[in-house]
């Protein structure tokens, strides 16, 4: 098995003192990010990205992805103990996690949450290990038309499958694509949409936008709400861990179902948030005793946590194999790859073996170390919540400013970050989704380049997107996704007609 050999190589890359200590730092920072209000996975990673600018890519990605694992773990702590979801994907965890904590079963709930997170991530990492190289190998055959078709598919699925109002998704996406086009045009060398400003010449940097949209806006939103919290922090004893683990095999169906949902929604742009709710709802639907959900059932914690983590982890699969992020955080990691001078896409598996397999190995190790770390240090991290928000908020603001400045050493970017913060605040409150904007910002110029290269190759003939079965299938699928709501309605209507006819006769 080639994958095992390469994975072994990855572990060798990983097992140095420096990389391991960076991993520990990343995990601890990540758990903080997950626990603190006003900070989440995507902004945590975006703010801390500048730390890695001068590192070699492998150390950088190990540290950043560890922050991500840590944030995924950390979100569960506040949901269960304080009924405050630190992350949107931990909302479903509060349904049964908080009642468990109130019944004095906090340690059990936390153990269940952490362990199921671990299981979800683990399934997704195994999937990445064996599937990603194959997809990448397949994608090596892709030319510009195929890549454009894949990008088109990504954007169309956002519009077609999104839960928000369609025009708001389109606004968010087209705004992102437009902002990505600001600055020097890479094909013709002309300046676009700069209006003579030298600051706009650099373009709107994706990381600056993300720090504003997620970091600053989150602080504004957190300030708006009531910040009081009350809870009882339990220490997790090894005996409770063992007792909880003994009951887990009973829930294997829930775990398998949630892992599958998570992996699927992570790879497609459904995301960890949708996965956690779907995992919870399906566990409830299939349960014999539906009434007891929401009153402190352990599988009410297992189901959403497994799904959220499987989704969060498998979102890295399309990023590694195709250069298309499956989530906001994956999009930021992708932005990181470009900063470190790597070219995301299928060639990564050929040209940067140490990097890719070091990252995959770090997913295994990071999740195991993260599990041990959170199980042993919950009270410590929960105590962070005692620090008043008035002290945390300005520190987060400073970190945001440092992050925004460090990307291109431009003071203008800090102003831009502030502007994006206000935009993010209004967008979040009025239900404009931020994920399409983020994705469009990071993929915008690549999408356009792919389109124009395809056009140059085909002499300006649009039929190139149906020129062979591969690109034709992807393009058609993209259009199906775009009009999915209409198609769904049509199928529903046809189904009703068919059912009505026998009734008439």
């Amino acid at each position: 098995m080639e994958a095992f050999e390469l994975l072994w190589h990855g572990f060798q890359v990983l097992l140095t003192f420096k990389t391991l200590s960076l991993m520990m730092i990343g995990l601890v920072l990540g758990i903080f990010v997950g626990v603190l209000p006003g900070l989440g996975g995507p902004n945590g990673v975006a703010i801390l990205l500048p730390l890695t600018f001068t590192m070699d890519p492998t150390s950088a990605i190990v540290m950043l992805s560890s922050i991500y694992w840590g944030a995924l773990f950390g979100g569960a702590i506040t949901s269960i103990l304080f009924n405050i979801p630190g992350e949107a994907w931990s909302v479903a965890t509060t349904f049964d996690g908080y009642p468990m904590a109130q019944q004095g079963r906090a340690a059990e709930a936390l153990t269940a949450a952490f362990t199921s997170s671990f299981i979800g991530s683990f399934v997704a990492v195994v999937l990445i290990t064996f599937l990603a190289p194959r997809i990448a190998g397949f994608a090596l055959r892709f030319g510009p038309p195929e890549f454009f078709a894949v990008y088109l598919l990504t954007f169309c699925s956002f519009v077609g499958l999104g839960r928000e109002q369609r025009h708001k998704i389109v606004i968010s996406m087209s705004l992102g694509l437009l902002l990505a086009g600001v600055g020097m045009d890479t094909v013709s060398g002309q300046l676009r949409m700069t209006f003579g400003s030298t600051d706009l010449l650099r373009g709107v940097n994706f990381l600056v936008a993300v720090i504003g949209l997620f970091g600053i806006s989150e602080i504004l939103l957190t300030m708006e709400e009531r910040l009081a919290l009350h809870g009882h922090v339990a220490k997790i004893s090894p005996r409770v861990v063992w007792e909880t683990w003994k009951t887990l095999p009973r829930y294997w169906v829930t775990l398998v179902r949630s892992s599958a949902i998570g992996c699927w929604l992570g790879i497609t742009p459904g995301g960890a948030i949708a996965a956690s709710f779907m995992g919870y709802n399906l566990a409830k639907r299939f349960a014999r005793d539906k009434e007891s959900f929401g009153k402190g059932r352990i599988d009410g914690v297992l189901a959403p946590e497994t799904a959220a983590h499987a989704a969060g982890t498998s979102a890295l699969l399309p990023m590694l194999a195709l250069g298309i992020p499956g989530s906001g955080t994956a999009a930021i990691l992708l932005g990181g790859l470009m900063v470190w001078g790597l070219n995301p896409g299928p060639l990564l598996f050929v040209e940067q073996k140490s990097f890719v397999w070091g990252l995959i190995a770090s997913m295994y190790l990071g999740n195991i170390v993260g599990l041990v770390l959170v199980l042993s240090t919950v009270p410590l991290f929960a105590a962070v919540l005692r620090v008043p928000f008035a002290a945390i908020a300005p520190m987060i603001l400073v970190s945001c400013a440092i992050g925004a400045y460090a990307v291109q050493n431009a003071l203008f970017d800090i102003w831009l970050m502030l502007l994006f913060g206000v935009v993010g605040y209004v967008f979040k409150k009025r239900g404009y989704p931020l994920a399409p904007l983020t994705l469009a910002l990071v993929l915008g110029s690549r999408t356009e380049d792919a389109f124009r290269l395809a056009m140059i190759g085909a002499g300006g003939d649009l039929r190139v997107f149906w020129s062979n079965w591969l690109v034709g299938t992807i393009t058609t699928l993209a259009l199906v996704m775009l009009f999915w709501p209409l198609i769904e309605k049509a199928i529903g209507g046809a189904g009703r007609l068919v059912r009505m006819r026998p009734a008439k006769a």
């Binding site: 001068t54 919540l385 400045y405």
Partner: protein
């Protein structure tokens, strides 16, 4: 271990709205439409046509502006059509006050960075915010801010070689 955090200054639940969601929707969609027109015009000026080997530089942005413009007009239409009676508050007065409590200091902070450098501005932001908005004792605020700023300096400027904008204070120390 009990953890209790109370917040006496929390916003009241039943406060008057500063602005309704409908008005915000109208303003946002109008702004977006204006932006679409501006960017669309610039792209058209650059050339939004089709050459023998594919689109000109302004082609993509031009049609994206049309898409953005159309979507924002649709949003404007549905905002205007929405019943005024069913309008929910976008932000209440209490909430708005608290949002400004962060937004205004952040704005001043960014302004100060231009003159004093990032670290001094950060120190002022942390002390000021903790003291005046959090109501935390001055010595605690100053100590926290000092430790935080020095730690940030060592992490970014010294350990990771990420250089931040400097002002007169750093110049006095020769950095």
């Amino acid at each position: 271990m009990e953890i209790d955090v109370e917040e006496p200054a929390a916003p009241a639940q039943d406060d008057r709205a500063v602005v309704g969601s409908r008005s915000v929707d109208v303003v946002v969609t109008l702004l977006l439409f204006g932006l679409a027109c501006l960017l669309g015009f610039d792209s058209w000026r650059l050339g939004a046509g089709w050459e023998s080997d594919g689109p000109q530089a302004g082609y993509f942005p031009f049609y994206l502006s049309i898409l953005l413009g159309a979507a924002s007009l649709f949003g404007l239409g549905s905002a205007l059509k929405a019943r005024a009676a069913a309008d929910e508050p976008f932000v209440t007065r209490d909430q708005f006050r608290r949002v400004l409590q962060v937004l205004v200091p952040t704005f001043l902070f960014v302004l100060l960075i231009q003159y004093l450098g990032l670290y001094v501005a950060s120190f002022i932001l942390v002390v000021g915010f903790m003291r005046f908005i959090g109501g935390i004792a001055l010595w605690k605020s100053a100590l926290t801010a000092a430790v935080f700023v020095v730690a940030m300096f060592f992490v970014f400027d010294v350990a990771f070689d990420v250089i931040m904008p400097k002002g007169p204070l750093e110049a006095a120390f020769g950095r």
